[in-house]
C-alpha cells in the first residue's frame, strides 16, 4: 500500500514540478523542498493535492518544509492523519 502511495506522490511531483525532459530523477528519498524542486509557495498546491487524494486535512503548522522534503517524509506525515 505504502509503495502505491509513494509512487503516486513521486509521479505527481514529476508531472507537476519538473520539466518532462529535465533529467532529474526522483525517488522516495529525493529532497523536494531543500533541493528546490518544490518551493515553499508550491507546497500549497502539493498539500492540496495530498488532502484531496487522501481525504485528510493537514494542519498548516504541520505542513513544514521538513515534513514535505521527500516522499518518505510526506508518507510519515500522512500516517498521522489517515490509515495508510
Amino acid at each position: 500500500m505504502s509503495e502505491d502511495i509513494k509512487k503516486m506522490i513521486i509521479d505527481y511531483v514529476k508531472k507537476e514540478y519538473l520539466e518532462e525532459d529535465s533529467g532529474v530523477d526522483v525517488n522516495e528519498n529525493t529532497k523536494l523542498i531543500s533541493s528546490g524542486i518544490v518551493d515553499s509557495f508550491s507546497m500549497v498546491s502539493l498539500k492540496m493535492f495530498l488532502e484531496k487524494k487522501f481525504l485528510v486535512k493537514i494542519p498548516d503548522d504541520k505542513a513544514t518544509p521538513d515534513a514535505f522534503d521527500s516522499a518518505n517524509n510526506i508518507i510519515n506525515l500522512l500516517k498521522e492523519y489517515t490509515k495508510i
Partner: protein, 567 residues
C-alpha cells in the same frame, strides 16, 4: 565600532562624493561595475581573499577567490564577445543560485552588456514577456530550465544565443544553442574591460505594476556609488565578515546586495543554493560562521514558527549584525530576533526602482521595532498628501512615500516605457507607491501599498499579469487577483473566478487552476486560494472593482461604491 558611527552626523555632512572617493570611482576613466567587483579588489592586494563560498543543496561546496572571480568573469566576458554579443545587448541570466550566475553577472557587465537576471522559477509565459520586452539577445541558462526557453524561442527572433552552462558533454546543441562550461573553458587572464560611461545601462530588473505588463527598471553603472556605501554603512560590512544575503539575484536585492555591494566592499560572501529549511539554514550559519545576515521578513516569520528551541541546537554566536528587506518587518519579528539571536533584524526599505536602500535602520541608532527607520544620508524622503502631492508636515499623518530624485542608483527609465517612468514623478518627487507616516522623531512607519500590486514574501506580483494568464485557462470566464493577508508572507495571491458555462467549481478545478498559473507565471503568482463566484463586481463601465474584493479580504471599509454596476 560600526562604519556609520553617528547617523545624525553622517546625515548632516553627507555627500555622495565620499562614496566615489572611497571607490576611486572613475579613476582612469573606469566606471564599469564589473571592474569594481573584481579587478579593483585584486589590485588592492586582496586577490587571494575568498569572494564566494557556494554550497549546493547536496552539501557540495565551491570556493572562489577574488582573483578567481576576476579570471572567470574575464572568461565569460571574452566568450560573450566572441559569440557576437555587443555593448548594450541584453543578456539574460536564468539559473538557480549557482556560481555562474554571480560570476556571469560580472562578466556581462565587463564586456558592456546589460545584465537581465530573471528568477529561475518563472514559467514560460513570464519568461517570454520579459525577454520579448527587452529584446534580449542572449540567455545564460542551466539545462534544467532549457525546456522553457525551447518552447518559446520561436516567438523571440532576437534571442539568438542560448548559452547552456552545464550541458552534458555528449548532448547535441539545438539551433542557436551553445554549450559553455565556465570552469573548463580556457581561462582569460587579461581582458580589456569595456570603458562604459557612468550613465551606461548596467542591469534591467523587471517589476510588476497594477496594470500592463511587467516593467524593466533600467539601472546605470554609477548605481554602484549608492550600493557600495549603503552596504558599508547599513549592512556594516567589515573586512573579516562572512556575509550571507539570502535573496535570489533574479530580484534586485540579489544583485544590489548579493553581488555588487559585498564585492565592491571586498567582503567574503556565502551562497546557499537550496530551498528553505529552518535547521538547514541554522546549520549553514554555524558551518560557515556567518557574521552578517541579510534576509527577509518571510524567512524570519518562518523561523519564528519553529521557535527558539530550534535556534538553541546550533552555535550561531558568529552572527554580529542582521538586516531584513522585502516587506515591512513587524515589531514582533524584531523583538523575537533579539531574543533568539541576541540581535535585532534591522529593517531596510527600498525598491527595484531605487536600486539601493532608501529608508533604513542603522547600527547604533535607536531602533523602534516595527519602524522603517530614517532616510539614508544623501536621501531626502517624505510623505506626500495624496491629492496635492505636497509634503505632510504633521507627525503621524499617512501619505505617499516619496524621494527627491537624483540619488546615484535611481532607475534611469523603464525599458522602452518612458511614459510609465514619467508617471512615477509628481511635483518633483519620485512616488514609491507605498503609504507611510512619519513620527515626531523622523521615523517612518509603513502602512501599505497605494495600489493593487501584491507584495508576497517581499516580491511584487501584478494582478493584471495573473488575471491575463487566468483567462487563458479553458474554464475561466473572468477573474480578479488580490492580495489577502498571510501571517508568514504578508500577502498571498487570492483569485476570485467566475467559470464559463459548463464548468463547475470543485477542488480538482481549484488545484488545476493553481498549477496552471504556477507553471505559466511562477509559484509566487499562483493563487493560494481561489473563490469561485457567479460574477465579479464591476463599475458601470465594466471595469472589475478589485478594490472591493481586496477590502473584503482585509476586513476594511469598502469605500465609495457609487459606480458599482449592480448597486
Amino acid at each position: 565600532m560600526s562604519h556609520i558611527g553617528s547617523y545624525e552626523e553622517r546625515y548632516r555632512s553627507f555627500n555622495w562624493k565620499q562614496s566615489e572617493e572611497e571607490l576611486e570611482y572613475g579613476k582612469n576613466g573606469m566606471f564599469n561595475i564589473g571592474y569594481y567587483c573584481s579587478d579593483r579588489i585584486c589590485e588592492k592586494g586582496d586577490g587571494k581573499k575568498l569572494a564566494l563560498i557556494w554550497e549546493g543543496f547536496t552539501g557540495e561546496v565551491k570556493k572562489f577567490t577574488y582573483d578567481d572571480i576576476r579570471v572567470y568573469s574575464n572568461t565569460i566576458a571574452k566568450f560573450l564577445q566572441d559569440t557576437g554579443i555587443n555593448v548594450g545587448d541584453r543578456v539574460c541570466l536564468f539559473m538557480d543560485k549557482v556560481p555562474e550566475l554571480y560570476i556571469g553577472f560580472v562578466g556581462i557587465l565587463k564586456m558592456g552588456g546589460i545584465a537581465q537576471p530573471l528568477f529561475s522559477a518563472f514559467g514560460e509565459e513570464a519568461l517570454f514577456t520579459r525577454l520579448d520586452d527587452a529584446k534580449t539577445k542572449a540567455i545564460m541558462i542551466q539545462k534544467k530550465h532549457l525546456p522553457k526557453v525551447r518552447r518559446i524561442k520561436d516567438k523571440l527572433p532576437e534571442l539568438t544565443k542560448i548559452i547552456v552552462i552545464d550541458a552534458d558533454e555528449a548532448a547535441t546543441p539545438q539551433i542557436n544553442e551553445i554549450h559553455f562550461w565556465m570552469e573548463k573553458a580556457s581561462k582569460v587572464e587579461k581582458f580589456e574591460i569595456v570603458k562604459v560611461g557612468p550613465e551606461a545601462p548596467s542591469v534591467i530588473h523587471y517589476t510588476s505594476g497594477t496594470t500592463g505588463k511587467p516593467k524593466g527598471a533600467q539601472h546605470a553603472h554609477s548605481s554602484i556609488i549608492a550600493q557600495y556605501i549603503t552596504s558599508k554603512w547599513v549592512l556594516d560590512l567589515q573586512s573579516d565578515d562572512i556575509y550571507w544575503c539570502t535573496a535570489d539575484p533574479g530580484w534586485v536585492t540579489g544583485t544590489s546586495y548579493g553581488i555588487i555591494g559585498p564585492w565592491a566592499n571586498g567582503v567574503t560572501q556565502v551562497v546557499l543554493d537550496a530551498g528553505f529549511g529552518t535547521e538547514k539554514w541554522y546549520a549553514f550559519i554555524q558551518k560557515h560562521k556567518v557574521s552578517m545576515w541579510y534576509s527577509a521578513p518571510t524567512v524570519i516569520r518562518l523561523l519564528m514558527k519553529e521557535g527558539i528551541e530550534a535556534v538553541k541546537k546550533y552555535d550561531l554566536s558568529s552572527l554580529r549584525h542582521l538586516a531584513s528587506v522585502g516587506e515591512p518587518l513587524n515589531a514582533e519579528a524584531v523583538v523575537w530576533s533579539e531574543k533568539a539571536f541576541g540581535k535585532m533584524f534591522l529593517d531596510t526599505y527600498w525598491q527595484t526602482e531605487t536600486g539601493a536602500m532608501m529608508i533604513t535602520n542603522y547600527p547604533g541608532m535607536k531602533i523602534k521595532p516595527g519602524s522603517m527607520g530614517k532616510p539614508f544620508p544623501g536621501i531626502t524622503a517624505t510623505v506626500l498628501n495624496t491629492k496635492t502631492y505636497e509634503p505632510i508636515t504633521t507627525a503621524g499623518i499617512v501619505g505617499l512615500i516619496a524621494i527627491k530624485p537624483g540619488w546615484p542608483s535611481m532607475m534611469r527609465s523603464y525599458w522602452n516605457n518612458k511614459t510609465t517612468y514619467d508617471s512615477k514623478f509628481k511635483n518633483g518627487w519620485y512616488i514609491c507607491g507605498d503609504r507611510a507616516s512619519i513620527d515626531n522623531e523622523g521615523y517612518f512607519w509603513f502602512v501599505g501599498r497605494d495600489d493593487d500590486v501584491i507584495n508576497t514574501a517581499g516580491h511584487l506580483v501584478g494582478p493584471f499579469e495573473i488575471e491575463s494568464a487566468l483567462l487563458e485557462h479553458k474554464a475561466v470566464a473572468e477573474s480578479a487577483a488580490v492580495g489577502k493577508p498571510d501571517p508568514v508572507n504578508m500577502e498571498v495571491v487570492k483569485a476570485f473566478i467566475a467559470l464559463k458555462p459548463g464548468f463547475e467549481p470543485s477542488g480538482d478545478m481549484e488545484l488545476d487552476i493553481m498549477n496552471f498559473i504556477r507553471k505559466k507565471l511562477s509559484p509566487l503568482a499562483m493563487p493560494q486560494e481561489i473563490e469561485f463566484v457567479p460574477s465579479l463586481p464591476k463599475t458601470r463601465s465594466g471595469k472589475i472593482m478589485r478594490r472591493l474584493l481586496r477590502a473584503k479580504e482585509w476586513g476594511e471599509e469598502i469605500g465609495d461604491t457609487s459606480t458599482l454596476e449592480n448597486d
